[in-house]
């Protein structure tokens, strides 16, 4: 008997005993469903750090009022806040790269202040799995990047099969992984189809390199070796599938070029450039020759979608992005099962997957272990601070386009399709020695950490509401509430810790802040507030997502 079953028995026994003790006869009525257990502020913060761009006390109150499941269900039906309509509402600059700050701005606005907190958070996670990037060939295709992000937002709770089709045919992905313009082979000239998208869709977006068990562990052959999911012949099969597509409405296949219009609509098939031979796919499937490009694409994406790896593959990656770096095999299996069947027979229901991830007992375990949780991504440390301190600029914008330099990451600013960090990254020391991973530690180098910590310094001491010297795009935090209590050190620490740590501050951190406060005259309320926020936001306990 497992713990859950044991608890059920105890609950039944208790109910029975209560019934006897009451002594009341009468008609038997089905007991009302037990109310969900009350949510503590700490729990509300936990779920909000997993499911939004950062917990705030106001949103925590909503979670407490609605219950965690109620809050999630409400979030699952919020429509997507979009990026492209905003960019299109702005004057068209001479070059679209000039809109990159506005793209970053609308990303922050939607994430910080949109009603669809969970959807934006999941879209960001998806943008770290199905990666395209401003850095490189898409630098001047800002409309396309924004529309690609909107595809992720709109499909965040939709079906994974629809998502990979929209991703595959999106011009941003087409350009980034060179499916756009990919032609059928020309044996005379030794020209073969481009293998880039064929390889990365499988390796990074769907099935991965080796066969997985439902619980995410690696399947082994008789000799104890991993079993590759595909070989070069299968890569080439898919590479042939992805031939014949380029910008829609182009005057000719080879003469296609991006326009404001065709970079935001799906690529179009040009049948004369599609390979019509047979094609080897996953799991021994072979597509017959003579199919159209559309038939080939649909069959190939079905083939990928139905591979048994997709459930555990997506489960691990989304759990890692939202909840913990090292989920148990049971956690992965429970989520993968929901991917495989949402309860009403549908495979690939991402809304159900997200809910299963967030509602799992392991997302907020009663008894925490030292491998639970994760390091917060640096950008999410920033958004949490900004949400907690109502960050804004005089212009109303958040055009922090240098995010990838300051934080080692930014919205659609990965250095390559391999994202800012690898899901398998294992830093030297106790984490590697224990066989565990910590993806976010890959960009937590001495250099990048210093950059981030220095940003906290400038944010707290410089970019705040007391500074009369701010530029109109300077994003400042507002700690006027802290200043009002700053003569009382305990009250000040309680307030900041309440906003950033759900009040759960370590004795060591409190003691050090108290020591520094003793050096600052109590009349210097802004300095006290800035120092307190700085020390908390740069601390290991703030960097950690429980």
């Amino acid at each position: 008997m497992n713990t859950r079953q044991l608890l059920a028995v105890i609950a039944t026994f208790t109910l029975t005993a209560a019934g006897c003790g009451g002594g009341s006869g009468g008609t038997s009525q089905p007991p009302p469903p037990p109310p969900p257990p009350p949510v503590s502020k700490a729990e509300a913060f936990k779920v909000l750090n997993q499911a939004s761009f950062g917990a705030t006390e106001a949103e925590a109150q909503r979670v407490i009022a609605m219950g965690i499941e109620g809050w999630i269900d409400d979030q699952l039906v919020q429509p997507a806040s979009l990026q492209l309509p905003h960019l299109q509402s702005l004057p068209r600059p001479q070059f679209l790269f000039e809109l990159q700050p506005d793209r970053v701005d609308i990303w922050f606005r939607n994430g910080l202040n949109g009603p669809d907190l969970l959807r934006q958070r999941v879209a960001f996670a998806l943008s770290e799995i199905m990666v395209v990037s401003q850095l490189g060939v898409l630098g001047n295709m800002t409309y396309s990047l924004a529309d690609y992000y909107d595809v992720l937002s709109r499909n965040a709770f939709g079906n994974y099969r629809d998502l990979i089709e929209e991703v595959t045919l999106h011009p941003a992905m087409g350009v980034y992984l060179s499916m756009l313009g990919n032609e059928r082979p020309d044996p005379v000239l030794n020209i073969r189809p481009d293998e880039n998208y064929a390889r990365e869709l499988m390796q990074l977006f769907s099935v991965g390199l080796v066969e997985l068990n439902l619980d995410g562990s690696t399947k082994l052959d008789n000799l104890g070796n991993p079993i590759p999911t595909y070989d070069q012949a299968i890569i080439e099969g898919f590479a042939h599938v992805y031939t014949g597509w380029t910008y829609a409405g182009a005057p000719s296949f080879r003469g296609a070029f991006p326009t404001d219009f065709n970079q935001i609509i799906p690529m179009q098939l040009y049948p004369g450039f599609h390979d019509t031979g047979s094609k080897k796919l996953l799991n021994g499937v072979e597509l017959p020759s003579g199919q159209s490009g559309g038939q080939d694409l649909a069959a190939a994406l079905d083939n990928v979608f139905n591979h048994p790896n997709v459930g555990p593959f997506i489960a691990i990656r989304l759990i890692q992005r939202l909840v913990t770096s090292n989920p148990s095999s049971g956690y992965v299996q429970r989520v993968a099962q929901v991917f495989n069947n949402n309860g009403v027979g549908i495979r690939g229901d991402m809304g159900a997957v997200v809910k299963a991830i967030l509602m799992d007992d392991e997302a907020r375990p009663d008894l925490a272990m030292d491998l639970d949780g994760k390091l917060k991504e640096p950008l999410l440390r920033l958004t949490q601070l900004w949400r907690a301190y109502d960050a804004q600029s005089a212009s109303g914008r958040y055009p922090l386009v240098a995010s990838f330099i300051l934080f080692g990451q930014g919205p659609l600013q990965s250095p390559s399709v391999f994202n800012f960090f690898s899901p398998f990254y294992s830093p030297p020391g106790e984490i590697r020695n224990s066989g565990l991973v910590a993806p976010e530690l890959q960009i937590s180098s001495e250099y990048q950490n210093t950059y981030v910590t220095n940003y906290w310094f400038f944010q707290t001491f410089g970019l705040n509401q007391t500074n009369s010297d701010l530029q109109e795009d300077d994003i400042f935090i507002d700690f006027s509430e802290e200043m009002a209590v700053a003569t009382n050190v305990d009250a000040l620490i309680d307030m900041v810790a309440g906003k950033l740590l759900a009040g759960d501050i370590s004795a060591a951190l409190r003691q050090e802040i108290t020591g520094i406060m003793a050096l600052i005259p109590e009349t210097e309320t802004a300095l006290r507030a800035a120092e307190t926020i700085y020390l908390i936001v740069s601390s290991p306990e703030y960097a950690y997502q429980k």
Partner: protein, 451 residues
């Protein structure tokens, strides 16, 4: 150390302006101790991320062999008359040339300071075309995949689960010999990497311009920021309940400790007169030259630097993009070599290149796909330069080393390449198998390109 009066900053400074200036804070200081090596040696790994198309970097130019190349390469072939001729002893009637943009490196090859290792790549054991198709030998896992093959080059560890890098293992082996060094033997200017990852030693990651310092701290008692720095350090040293907090605190501690010991080692030495390209790679290599200039202040005996450039994954637009990429390689590594001459350490510093893989000889229309063996550059006065090391493959599609589409089985293993460099670095022969775990599978333990 940039000192900022917090109150002034809070009240009157334009934070945006100050923040914009922070990248210029740059250089950390490192101080030194003593070490038992009686000389100084440094290896500089230049990694080309994405997979350098190195069969367009080093190309046969004699008519017969060029004809084979051109037939395979088709619309991606470099014109025969544009190749920069180089003299390659021992290659008989087959003559070779370099990509037309690589004039600086051509000169260093001709003057004997540079060499190429040809068709080198990850192997577990010697592998023939039949072995490959019959699956009769062990192969590196996940051939043709970017991150896996980067990992192979950097770790040489195959499917083994222990993920350390060969430079990391090298550094572990000599750690007691260099105990007096005040900076880690392994330094990266391009982020965390597997090459330098080790069990016993930790690589230090700085930026492309050098270490970054923490703002607002002082190491001098009584100065503004001193108490804050002390408190900050004590917070890092507290007991934390999660592995993630502990790992994060360790990185922060290392970062601040390095910044703490900075006085002026780098800045006390004049920057090199050598002009470097204004590129990502040129900038990193210029910083490496400055760190090497400060080696005595740092009391460094052995160093491994990791620098890198990206953009080599030329699936598309190869004919447009490749000239700039290869020109940058040539100009950047040549400038770095010139800087080592200027510093009088050209025979103590060896630059070597790695990349995910070579690329297919066949075209995908306007680019190339992931392959296997490729050509690499070694540079420095300890190098037996002016020659090709290893066998250059026959570039025929379906040729004896082609496993399909012009993907060539390496004829020299990355283990042999690493072991030869490690031996020069000072690793005893008996320990080379720790650095290069597949070395015993190959007859030649030392490729002979290091004097």
């Amino acid at each position: 150390m940039v000192k900022i009066n917090r109150r002034d900053f809070l009240r009157s400074t334009s934070a945006a302006a100050v923040f914009a200036a922070t990248p210029g804070l740059a250089y950390s200081q490192v101080v030194g101790g003593g070490a038992p090596f009686d000389d100084y040696r440094a290896l500089v790994c230049v990694f080309f991320f994405g997979g350098n198309d190195s069969f367009n970097m080093l190309v046969p130019r004699s008519d017969t062999e060029y004809g084979v190349y051109a037939a395979s390469r088709q619309n991606l072939a470099i014109a025969q008359q544009d190749l920069l001729p180089i003299t390659t002893p021992g290659t008989g009637t087959t003559l070779y040339g370099m990509h037309p943009t690589m004039t600086s490196l051509q000169q260093l090859f001709e003057s004997g300071s540079a060499a190429f290792i040809t068709n080198v790549g990850p192997l577990v054991e010697p592998t023939s075309r039949d072995d490959f198709f019959n699956k009769s030998v062990a192969l590196p896992p996940q051939l043709f995949s970017h991150n896996d093959q980067q990992d192979q080059w950097n770790s040489l560890k195959g499917n083994r689960t222990s993920k350390t890098g060969w430079a990391g293992r090298m550094t572990d082996l000599i750690r007691t010999n260099v105990a007096g060094q005040q900076m880690a033997t392994n330094a990266s200017l391009f982020g965390n990497n597997l090459l330098q990852s080790a069990d016993e030693t930790i690589a230090y990651v700085m930026g492309p311009g050098g270490p970054l310092q923490f703002t607002g701290f002082s190491t001098t008692p009584g100065e503004p920021g001193f108490e804050q720095r002390q408190a900050f350090l004590r917070i890092l040293e507290a007991q934390y309940g999660s592995i993630y907090e502990r790992a994060f605190a360790e990185v922060q501690n290392r970062a601040i400790a390095t910044a703490d010991t900075v006085t002026a080692a780098i800045d006390s030495r004049p920057p090199p007169n050598t002009i470097f390209p204004q590129s990502q790679l040129g900038g990193q290599l210029r910083t490496v030259a400055r760190l090497i200039a400060a080696r005595d202040d740092l009391q460094m005996q052995r160093q491994v630097f990791f620098v890198a450039a990206g953009g080599f994954d030329s699936h598309d637009n190869q004919n447009q993009d490749q000239p700039g990429l290869l020109a940058d390689i040539s100009e950047s590594v040549s400038a770095f070599y010139n800087a080592t001459v200027e510093l009088g350490v050209a025979d103590s510093v060896t630059t070597f290149t790695q990349s995910d893989f070579g690329r297919t000889l066949t075209s995908n229309g306007d680019g190339t796909d992931h392959a296997w063996g490729g050509n690499q550059i070694i540079l420095g006065d300890a190098v037996s330069g002016g020659q090709l090391i290893g066998n250059y493959p026959e570039l025929r599609i379906g040729g004896p080393e082609d496993v399909g589409g012009g993907r060539f089985i390496p004829s020299t293993s990355a283990d042999q390449y690493a072991a030869t460099l490690a031996k020069w670095f000072g690793i005893p022969d008996i320990d080379l198998d720790i650095v290069a775990p597949n070395l015993a599978n190959f007859a030649v333990r030392d490729l002979g390109f290091m004097a």
